[in-house]
């Protein structure tokens, strides 16, 4: 499970073994409080789930499950519907993550700038957070429906009047992507805003004295100091987006014609609707391995830049 994870950058500093040992002891002491609930409520169910991938477990009553080695994975290779949903999942999570980062960075910079009504605008920027996902989905369905405000606006500008955004084959995926970005904006914005606040003022002041303009200071100072934070938030955003399905499920149920069938939604249907727990776990494991490999590359490259 851990061998695909990030290799820590090699520290060049020389260490004596005693320091290393003290450090390790300190590290363990710092980490211990976090581990107990993690072991019971997270690691344990997680391993259980991973083990399931190698069995023919179902959700039927009183049925023994058998170890089937890699049968589930062999079957998965030929499951075209799963791979199609995998492709949709990639389109969805990459677009949502990139748009979240770009839009979130823009908003964080604006909120960090010296503008009026700072407190008010910051709270407004968090509005998507104040609405539970249950309500978010229903709200956006109202906005997107044929008799909704979006069509009223589009037709006011001379566009078509009755697009059913979530049911149209071409607009459904872009429409849910917009909602995905909307939902994730507060998270990304606040994280980046906190990061910007953390950049020591002196660096900016010094650069200003040196005559660097705003754009230069953004690229030369803000971005490098933010890199660990940007790496952390984009990696998480990507994982979450790849993993999400509740919102899309409520809005489109994967339709129209499977255009928004995200891989987690597919896995969910396999586990809870067909009750093929083992097969669904294999899907889950494939997704985990894929994301971990992707993340290792990404984080490794980020940490390497960090070293330069």
């Amino acid at each position: 499970m851990t061998d695909t994870a990030v290799r820590p950058p090699v520290t060049t500093r020389k260490k004596t073994t005693t320091i290393a040992r003290t450090e390790r002891r300190e590290a363990i002491a710092l980490v211990i409080p976090a581990t107990l609930p993690i072991l019971i409520f997270s690691v344990f169910p997680l391993i259980n789930g991973i083990v399931l991938a190698f069995t023919d477990a179902t959700l039927r009553r009183n049925v023994e499950s058998n170890f089937v080695a890699f049968d589930n994975f062999a079957r998965l290779v030929g499951d075209t519907m799963f791979w199609e949903s995998f492709r949709i999942g990639l389109v969805w999570s990459i677009s949502v993550t990139v748009l979240q980062l770009v839009a979130g960075m823009g908003l964080a910079l604006l909120l960090n700038a010296d503008l009026r009504l700072k407190g008010f605008t910051r709270v407004l920027a968090l509005v998507p957070w104040a609405m539970p996902p249950v309500v978010v989905a229903i709200m956006w369905k109202l906005i997107y429906r044929q008799t909704g405000p979006l069509n009223a606006i589009v037709s006011a500008f001379g566009g078509p009047t009755n697009t059913d955004w979530l049911a149209n084959f071409d607009t459904a995926l872009p429409a849910v992507i917009v909602v995905g970005v909307w939902v994730g904006m507060p998270q990304t914005t606040i994280t980046l805003l906190a990061g910007l606040q953390q950049v020591p003022m002196e660096l900016h002041e010094a650069a200003q004295v040196d005559g660097a303009n705003a754009w230069n200071r953004f690229w030369k100072i803000s971005i490098p100091s933010l890199r660990p934070i940007v790496a952390a938030i984009t990696s998480l955003n990507f994982i979450w987006n790849f993993n999400s399905f509740g919102l899309v499920y409520v809005m489109t149920e994967g339709g129209p014609g499977g255009r928004t069938m995200l891989p987690m939604l597919f896995t969910y249907l396999e586990a809870f609707k067909s009750k093929h727990l083992g097969y669904a776990a294999a899907m889950g494991l494939v997704l985990v391995v894929f994301v971990l490999i992707l993340m290792s590359f990404y984080l490794w490259s980020q940490f390497r830049k960090d070293k330069d």
Binding site: T2, T4, A5, R7, A27, P33, A34, I38, F41, S42, F44, L46, G49, A103, G106, L107, L111, A113, L115, T121, R122, V123, A125, L126, V127, W129, A130, M131, P132, P133, V134, V135, I138, W140, I143, G148, M185, I190, L193, Q197, Q198, V199, P200, M201, N213, P228, I229, A232, I233, L236, I239, W240, F242, N243, T267, A271, F272, G284, L287, V288
Partner: protein
Amino acid sequence: MGRFTKPGQYLLLLAYLIFLGFPLLWLISAAFKSSAELNSLRVNLIPTDWHLANFPEALAKQGLVRSGLNSTIVAVTTTILVIVVSIPAAYALARFKGKLRTLGVGWILTSQVFPVILIIIPLFIILKNLNLVDSLLGLILVYTTYTMPFALWMLQGYVAAIPKDLEEAGAMDGASRFKVLREIVFPLLMPGIVATAMFAFVSSWNEFFFALVLIQTPDNYTLPITLKMFVGGEGKVALGPLAAGAVMAAIPSLVFFGFMQRKLTGGLLAGAVKG
């Protein structure tokens, strides 16, 4: 950002706020519309006649206040637990390299990727054996565990963003490690801690799936569960009362955000640290 034209910035900010705020505005509008108006073809932000009955209906029918209280208890406790436990661990994760870090990162990422639906049944059984099904304490423990990977991951990012030289300078001055942490690292970390705390709060405030499965009696319902009760079979949604309930449910979080965002300022402290 010095030269960048101010009006342009305001305009851009306005565009952002419309995008982010419009759905709430539409929700508020729906909360004041009658069922007949909501089911007509008209598209209007201002209701034709202000229908106030949705609010008492939302309050009366579904025990909204009770579940609001439950959500507050769960979200606040989870936030405190997560932050207290995560800060030391995140520091260790960022500063000490080694097997432990690899293991930690591996777990954090795996636990965030693995489908919740495959975890829920063993988790349910564990909680049942611990007598924690249908209890707020059980929910708090689960939320703490599942918010922690994120909190750890973000906080270690913030720690990593603090130049190591600052700590080393402090250590050179003869300060103890603890003193260095308290006087140099902690203040610099404050905006990051606040941002993480806000997330921990929001994610447990809004969480639906665990609560759906783990909570059984209405006395223990959290807000998302109560709001979902407005959605009936065959997609029959009591839209007006749902919107009214959602608007009322949004107010505590908005107040909380208003309070927290003031603490999101780190510029003051940066001046105190001379590298």
